[in-house]
Symmetry: C2
Subunit: 415 residues, 2 copies
């Protein structure tokens, strides 16, 4: 029995071993959430020339010394046109948003500030400085400039930039292939016949969903019974993947086959226990080609240890710079007891008042009560040394998957 | 030309029309992020009986009046066993986490608080109250109890609960089928030959990614040129979908074919302008079977109006209760100018100090500069009436897709 590792050391340990796996080319359409493996340069000026930022009239600012001013409309220019005329004094062109500014014109006056006078004349009601409502050539992207650096996560905005430079294929970090194995004689599979004495395998599916939420599609290896040969075969199968998650099998009792079997299979174990609750019995090992995480059999402990240890490791393998759940500060609506000695993650819901976020524990904090996790918006972090928190105390909370959206629009009283 | 609608009224308008579409049964394995269309009841007690919360020894608390106490080990029980013996005074059983508590025993002492004395005897070093480290029958789920209500988003924790009640199929709200059409003669498609005078179609792909980030796979209808017949055919095709997003074509100039064509196709338009920047020229209409959003041609304006108007509508159609981006408060690191009269969304990056989040604008706030959106962590909300913000002022920011994770673990100095 090895000593429990502080969580920060456990995280450092997994991050040291779980590094990016290599790169691949993928279709731009499938690239959301992936991480660029090389810098991207612009292959063009964008916009390709000075263009209008508004629907209106392109003209010479010098003609608006006295307003209202009447100007002759000498052309219509829309986006995609290639105008060859030159706008002379007293003239203007009708112009659309995104259309090229013709020679001679230096200013755009938006249509709202004009009045039509017949088909070929317009009255301009306002004066303007030269350059108004013109978007300059290459103000967005300049040919050969680096527009995205390696390590950038492909968000919708980044994907738009990639489309702008016509990167139909993008060079990204590979995602780990993840397998999930549940273990235990007590478990009943999703498609097994109902047996009132069995425990349905929830962990395998919750872990699957946690992996899916990070943008990967794991393979479910099913349930390994407490039989050495079966367990060994399933573990061997799982070690063919980049990452193997084993749910259950981390207890210290005499029926624990997992540890000796892993050692027989050549897995080098780096830790067996972590100083956190729930999630204390979380283990990590490596082979030449695979990383293995053994997670607690208790469903909440399994999910919490995934969030703290496995998720940062998987995101590191994917090449992300941001490995940890977004945190915000929240005030407790009720006291929380805590014994010093373990970092603790309490399941809480979030609400708000004029002073910010409020955190309320989701009932029982027993690590067997998965409903407490299903109802949680966030995990409240109780530091090792804490002797408990009072109502009104402020703490750090990690936002969970369901809480990246909220009920309140920016128009609700409490922003 | 209709008047611009305040954004909150525009949001109310789209939410009134964009309602859930109906329900369907889907595989549990594909259900992450979907919304339950009916309540879910437990089909079993979970745990099915009193079980041990620890690896250790199940015994009678009354035997620990004086400790250390030596007890005879009369059996080994592991998870999945169905013990028939009764633990008598002076006896105990070796028990595994999750294993059933045998008759007679009322307490579990964890293995760390014991010392082995041969194979069939153990010394217990601590006393305990009856009930310690026992998880009670049905403490997690009770047969027939409602465990999840209709409208619940399927997060990993919820998916675990569904697996516990063996819901291999789940009844959920249907997702809208979304089509995306780009419009404009100036546009160059992703696979078109390079033309230095064209503008690559970035909006269509950024919108695709925004829809993907909400959990749907949109259909890309490509580019409609400024030709009435082509535009009409493409719009007709798009109106076969639950939702059609049209990028560009909302300008007021003479070359605008979109509006009359939509009217010819029987689309009832509800608004054409919204009091927000960027994103002012955003329009919304409906037919009997479809919702259509016309979004600005400027890429940032397109993305921001999607976030504020389309995303809440799509999430409402999916049955979500949480429609809006998570907001946090942040202090500005530099002043921001603002003209009263429009709600404004500034692209900012987030950082932190000991007092919380800091927001820094991502360079040019021109709505043509998509890089400002690609680099943004959040949208900072400048209210209509604001005359500008000073450095140090606090504002509300909406967290964007790339920012649901962060660099800092809970162990960084600033929580």
């Amino acid at each position: 029995m090895t000593n429990a590792l502080p969580l920060n050391e456990a995280q450092n340990c997994v991050l040291q071993h779980c590094v990016p796996l290599g790169t691949e080319n993928i279709d731009l359409l499938q690239s959301l959430g992936r991480v660029l493996a090389q810098e991207v340069r612009s292959n063009r000026d964008h916009p390709p020339c000075d263009i209008s930022a508004m629907d209106g009239y392109a003209l010479r600012a010098a003609d608006l010394g006295v307003v209202p001013a009447q100007l002759a409309i000498v052309a219509d220019i829309k986006a995609g046109d290639l105008p060859t005329l030159t706008v002379q004094a007293g003239q203007c062109v009708r112009i659309m948003t995104g259309a090229p500014i013709p020679q001679g014109a230096d200013t755009v006056i938006r249509v709202e500030d004009t009045q039509a006078i017949g088909a070929d004349k317009v009255q301009i009601d306002v004066s303007a400085q030269a350059g108004k409502d013109i978007r300059r050539r290459a103000e967005n992207l300049r040919t050969h400039d680096v527009v995205l650096t390696a390590g950038t996560e492909i968000t919708p905005g980044v994907l738009g930039i990639l489309a702008m430079v016509k990167a139909a294929e993008v060079h990204v970090q590979r995602r780990p292939r993840v397998a999930i194995l549940s273990s235990g004689d007590e478990l009943e599979g999703l498609h097994d016949a109902f047996d009132a004495n069995k425990i349905p395998d929830a962990n395998g599916y919750a872990l699957m969903a946690q992996v899916q939420a990070l943008g990967m599609q794991p393979v479910l290896l099913g349930i390994a019974r407490d039989d050495p040969a079966e367990l060994r075969a399933k573990l061997q199968q799982g070690l063919q993947y980049d990452v193997l998650l084993v749910s259950g099998g981390t207890s210290v009792g005499v029926h624990d086959f997992v540890r000796p079997t892993l050692e027989q299979l050549g897995v080098q174990m780096h830790f067996w226990r972590v100083q956190m609750r729930p999630g204390h019995p979380a283990a990590f090992g490596t082979t030449a080609g695979s990383k293995i995480f053994c997670l607690p059999g208790n469903p909440v402990a399994s999910m919490v240890s995934f969030e703290q240890i496995v998720a940062p490791a998987l995101r590191n393998m994917m090449g992300h710079a941001r490995l940890y759940r977004r945190t915000v500060r929240a005030r407790l609506t009720q006291p929380l007891s805590h014994r010093p000695g373990n970092l603790e993650f309490m399941r809480v819901t979030l609400s708000r008042d004029v002073n910010g976020y409020l955190a309320t524990p989701t009932g029982s904090q027993s690590s067997g009560v998965l409903l407490s996790m299903a109802r949680a918006d966030a995990l409240l972090v109780v530091p090792n040394e804490s002797k408990g928190l009072a109502a009104g105390d402020t703490a750090t909370v990690q936002l969970l998957d369901g809480s990246v959206f909220q009920e309140h629009s920016v128009f609700s009283l409490v922003l």
